[in-house]
């Protein structure tokens, strides 16, 4: 067998066949090497990227909002370190024991405990649960003391919005809170930077300037395993804080406004008559925006919501009031400009005026006798202004009023809740009410009643434009990239030209035909405050440094019946809701005026008793702060 032919033949067969598969093997191995080459050399980049995508995960941290500062650089919306308590479920040995311990340490409610348990079920075991967003320092210390016993608990320091002046700026700044789905979807920037726990502006400037204030996320890169668990931190990329926004407001004056309106419903606006800078803008009552940061409690929210003085309404911008007698300077100016009257023009006031069988009363029942413009303004004689507006007509009055900013938004672009008010004319009535204008309506428009509606800020701007000699100003609350200085503004106005900060050009913004007419109105407003029998004479300041000119106003909220007129009730005897609104507009100092203000006290009674005395207290402070304000010229340029 060994030497047999067949044995050798078999070996040959085996060897030949082996050779064939041997060659096949080489081909197959070459194919595998080619595949390796294609994956590892040709497509290496692609797979390296995929591998990094696998293992590297980014965690965005909430961005730090930019600070908002007042004119003097005081932070009025800043950021505060807050202490939070997180639980990392996977590190907890006994979850129920831990919750019982925490409940005792922090006085957590049963509802909160239930919520934590729910979160635990929803989240991955290594995702932290935020037990408390804002621990007090003493709670934080307590937790740290017991940390040895609280396995899996992580005390965390983080940054949160803070409003150091509490309710002083609420209506200007608004507040921040957790965004809802719609807010995230509607804003590309918020959408990109959103992380749980992030807060966005909900109201006011915080909302309007969201894209400037928001800041960029800090990013932490972690290596994660296939289950998404963080293994180690690779890098930390710092975020950039949002832009700092500087406002024109003065916190000292704003605070004073708050004090002066304490427990009253009303508003105070103070404005630079040349630059249009809003020095103060306070609506009373206000509420504490800090309450909204970590979710306001139902009780606190109901307290704010149900307050009869309506703290949620920004009265300065959204409150619509009849201007009452504060409109009279505009009526007088319009009549003078249209040559309807002159300074010598006189009307006899008998306490009432009859027109087509209707009686129009002057506030003074006995009448003022023969009054000229100056006296009529001083004593706020209604009969005189009935007659003047009758002669003038509502349409000519409307033109002057609108020139001075009535019926138009003052800060429109910054606050969505600003109202534009209304200054009627015949066309408006025809278009909107479908009826013809009645002369009697002209008369009551002339004393600031009837259809006419204005916001306190409009009245302030109106007064400012009278005070500066009749030039248009563009009120603003943010110190922008191209701030106009007080001197520049004043000079350009006096030379008849106005410096426009937005277009960098000098524009003619003259609101008058004859400068003399402005002067006459100014003088009559001076008389109203500083001469005997003036309606705000009691609130005057004799020191020329602080001396101011103003005009009171008392706006009826309902028609006075004949019976009520006869009774002549004291303020306290009238139900709160039916009491008149008290108004006062003023500017000062009378020589070289610088600031204008408007004050409204809702249901405060008469302007001379309720509103004007507030101006007296405020003016001293405003003028005293003027020098400081003037020195504060280190503008930081911000482009909005």
């Amino acid at each position: 067998m060994i030497k047999s032919n067949s044995g050798i033949r078999k070996t040959d067969v085996i060897n030949r066949r082996m050779f064939i598969i041997g060659a096949a093997k080489v081909v197959v191995f070459a194919g595998i090497v080619a595949r390796l080459f294609s994956l590892q050399i040709n497509e290496n980049k692609k797979y390296l990227t995929l591998s990094d995508k696998n293992r590297i995960r980014e965690w965005k941290l909430p961005p730090t909002r930019g600070n908002i500062v007042d004119y003097f650089g005081n932070v009025i919306a800043g950021n505060l370190k807050v202490y939070q308590l997180h639980i990392i479920p996977e590190q907890v040995e006994n979850f129920n024991y831990l919750l019982v311990r925490l409940k005792n340490l922090l006085n957590l409610s049963d509802k909160k405990i239930a919520r934590i348990n729910k979160l635990k079920a929803e989240l991955k075991p290594w995702d932290s649960i935020i037990v408390s967003e804002n621990l007090s320092w003493s709670q934080f210390v307590k937790i740290n003391n017991y940390l040895y016993d609280l396995v899996g608990v992580k005390p965390v320091m983080t940054i949160s919005r803070n409003y150091p002046f509490n309710d002083v700026y609420t209506h200007v700044l608004g507040y921040v809170s957790q965004p809802n789905e719609k807010e995230i979807l509607n804003n590309q920037i918020i959408q990109e930077r959103f992380v749980p726990g992030m807060k966005i502006g909900k109201l006011g400037l915080e909302k309007r300037l969201e894209n400037h204030l928001i800041g960029t996320n800090a990013i932490q890169r972690y290596e994660v395993n296939a289950y998404g668990k963080r293994i180690n931190q690779l890098e930390h990329q710092k975020g950039q804080q949002g832009s700092k926004i500087r406002l024109t407001v003065d916190t000292e004056i704003q605070k004073a406004c708050r004090e002066l309106l304490n427990e009253k419903a009303g508003s105070i606006s103070v404005m630079d008559i040349y630059t249009g800078d809003i020095i103060a803008m306070y609506s009373s009552p206000s509420y504490d925006p800090n309450l909204f940061l970590f979710g306001i409690s139902q009780d606190e929210w109901q307290l704010i919501r149900n307050n009869p003085l309506k703290p949620l309404i920004n009265k300065t911008l959204s409150g619509l009031y009849s201007p009452g007698s504060t409109i009279k300077p505009i009526v007088a100016l319009s009549a003078l400009e249209n040559n309807v009257i002159d300074t010598k023009f006189k009307v006899k006031c008998t306490g009432k005026m009859e027109l087509y069988g209707q009686t129009f009363h002057c506030w003074k029942e006995k009448g003022h006798g023969w009054v000229s413009l100056k006296n009529a303004m001083k004593q706020s004689c209604d009969t005189y202004f009935y007659e003047v507006s009758r002669l003038l007509g509502v349409d000519r009055l409307n033109i002057t009023a609108e020139k001075f900013g009535l019926g138009k938004k003052v800060l429109g672009e910054y606050f969505d809740n600003e109202k534009k008010g209304l200054f009627p004319n015949t066309k408006w009535k025809k278009n909107n009410l479908g009826r013809g204008w009645v002369l009697g309506e002209t008369l009551i428009t002339g004393i600031g009643q009837g259809y006419i509606q204005s916001t306190p800020l409009q009245l302030c701007m109106m007064t400012a434009q009278i005070a500066n000699g009749g030039y248009a100003i563009k009120p603003k609350i943010i110190v922008d990239s191209n701030p106009i200085s007080y001197e520049d503004a004043k000079q350009s106005m006096e030379s008849g030209l106005l410096f426009d900060s937005n277009s960098d050009s000098l524009l003619d913004k003259k609101l008058f035909k004859n400068k003399k007419n402005i002067k006459i109105v100014q003088e009559s407003m001076f008389a109203s405050t500083n001469e005997r029998f003036g309606t705000s004479y009691k609130s005057r300041i004799d020191d020329p440094k602080y001396q101011f000119a103003g005009k009171t106003g008392t706006a009826q909220v309902k028609k006075i019946s004949k019976r009520e007129r006869e009774l002549d009730l004291e303020l306290e005897q009238i139900p709160y809701k039916d009491r008149d609104h008290a108004l006062y507009v003023a500017y000062g100092p009378y020589v070289n005026p610088r600031y204008a203000l408007s004050i409204i006290i809702e249901h405060g009674g008469s302007g001379s008793k309720a509103a004007a005395p507030i101006a007296k207290k405020l003016f001293k402070l405003i003028i005293d702060r003027h020098e400081l304000r003037n020195k504060q010229s280190n503008f930081e340029r911000i482009t909005i």
Binding site: I14, V28, F29, F37, Q40, I41, L48, S51, N54, Y227
Partner: protein, 374 residues
């Protein structure tokens, strides 16, 4: 053993050791060292369960290989049928009493070790058929009887293994058997006809596949159809290999495996980790090492005087080649995923045991290459 080879009784133990094939021995040793290091890496750079056990198994099975080599090749020839039948009995045993794990029943507990008889069948079938063709006259190779016998020898264990179910191993067993048929001289046209028949009946076969096996084929054709489910393994495997680049991410620095993105990294996907950490250079190096082993086995076969040794060596060399090709093609996304380990590298005792026994027989053939078997 001496009673079996009186003729060679003059070969002393020392001479036997001297006659071992050192190229093969060194290559296998090197492969073993690499496998322990890679196992150490799969354990995250610590000596944990897999590293310890893998080392322990090498420590037992490497000497076993030498021990097997010390027996005369005639001894293995004589016992080939018996070994085949014993392994066959074990296969039958596990199909009734085997340990079930992850949906299949293919293991048996042998006190110190969990044995997978199907792995041993990979060697046993080569031995059995090598002996059969050794004894068969050339004239009878293509006779109906002999073809029926050899096909039964292949099909019976294959069916048992398929039913475990273990498609990967059954394919390897069948291929190991078929290669001996090829080497034995079965007409080429039979192979061609069978292959054509196989292709035609492929849709029919597929309809018999289990749902998860069908899914594997679909996934192979388009891994991105379910990237987190069925396609996950192959996608992650390709990412690991591809991201390795030219020279790899470095030992113990394979992020895909370290961060648990790689499934089955100890067993079937061990090459993925190796390739991620050592790159193209390392992978080709490993292939060269395997090629040396295969080449040495073929060389030993070709110097063997007996056709049994020759057939066994050529068959075994081909089997090793097939294991490697199937495993690498699978992890490289060239074939659907079928469970098949990479010889020596993969964690798994039975596979290593079978491989080492195979090497042992090859070494025995080398020592006794002049031995003739009647």
């Amino acid at each position: 053993m001496f009673q079996h080879d009186r003729l060679n009784s003059e070969i002393t133990l020392l001479q036997k050791i001297k006659n071992l094939d050192y190229t093969l021995l060194i290559s296998v040793t090197l492969l073993s060292v690499i496998s322990v290091l890679v196992m150490y890496s799969t354990d995250g750079g610590e000596i944990l369960f897999h590293t310890k056990n893998h080392f322990l198994k090498l420590a037992v099975f490497f000497p076993l290989m030498i021990f097997v080599a010390l027996f005369n090749i005639k001894f293995w020839h004589n016992f080939s049928y018996i070994i085949y039948f014993i392994v066959m009995l074990l296969l039958i045993y596990v199909s009734f009493f085997g340990i079930k794990a992850s949906g299949s029943q293919r293991w048996m507990d042998v006190y110190f070790f969990v044995l997978q008889p199907s792995e041993l069948m990979k060697i046993a079938i080569i031995m059995c058929l090598a002996k059969y063709y050794h004894r068969l006259k050339v004239e009878n190779v293509n006779s109906f009887t002999s073809i029926t016998i050899v096909l039964s020898v292949i099909i019976i264990p294959t069916i048992f293994v398929v039913s475990q179910p273990d498609l990967g191993t059954s394919i390897l067993i069948a291929l190991s058997g078929l290669i001996i048929l090829w080497l034995g001289g079965v007409k080429i046209k039979y192979f061609i006809y069978s292959f054509i028949t196989f292709l035609i009946s492929l849709p029919f076969i597929i309809s018999f596949l289990k749902p998860y096996q069908k899914l594997r084929i679909l996934t192979f054709l388009d891994p991105d159809r379910d990237p987190l489910g069925a396609g996950y393994q192959i996608i992650q495997s390709k990412i690991a290999i591809g991201s390795g680049g030219l020279d790899g991410k470095g030992f113990l620095k394979g992020t895909q495996s370290y961060l648990d993105f790689l499934p089955e990294k100890h067993t079937d996907f061990i090459f993925t980790l190796f390739s991620e950490e050592f790159g193209f250079v390392g992978s080709v190096g490993l292939l060269i090492l395997y090629s040396i082993i295969i080449f040495r086995i073929i060389r030993i076969g070709s110097i063997s005087r007996s056709n049994f040794a020759r057939l066994f060596c050529f068959g075994y060399a081909f089997a090793i080649f097939i294991y490697i090709v199937v495993n690498l093609s699978m992890v490289l996304g060239l074939l659907p995923i079928v469970g098949s380990p990479l010889p020596i590298m993969s964690y798994g005792g039975s596979s290593m045991l079978a491989t080492m026994i195979g090497f042992g027989i090859v070494l025995s053939a080398k020592i006794n290459h002049k031995q003739m078997i009647a």
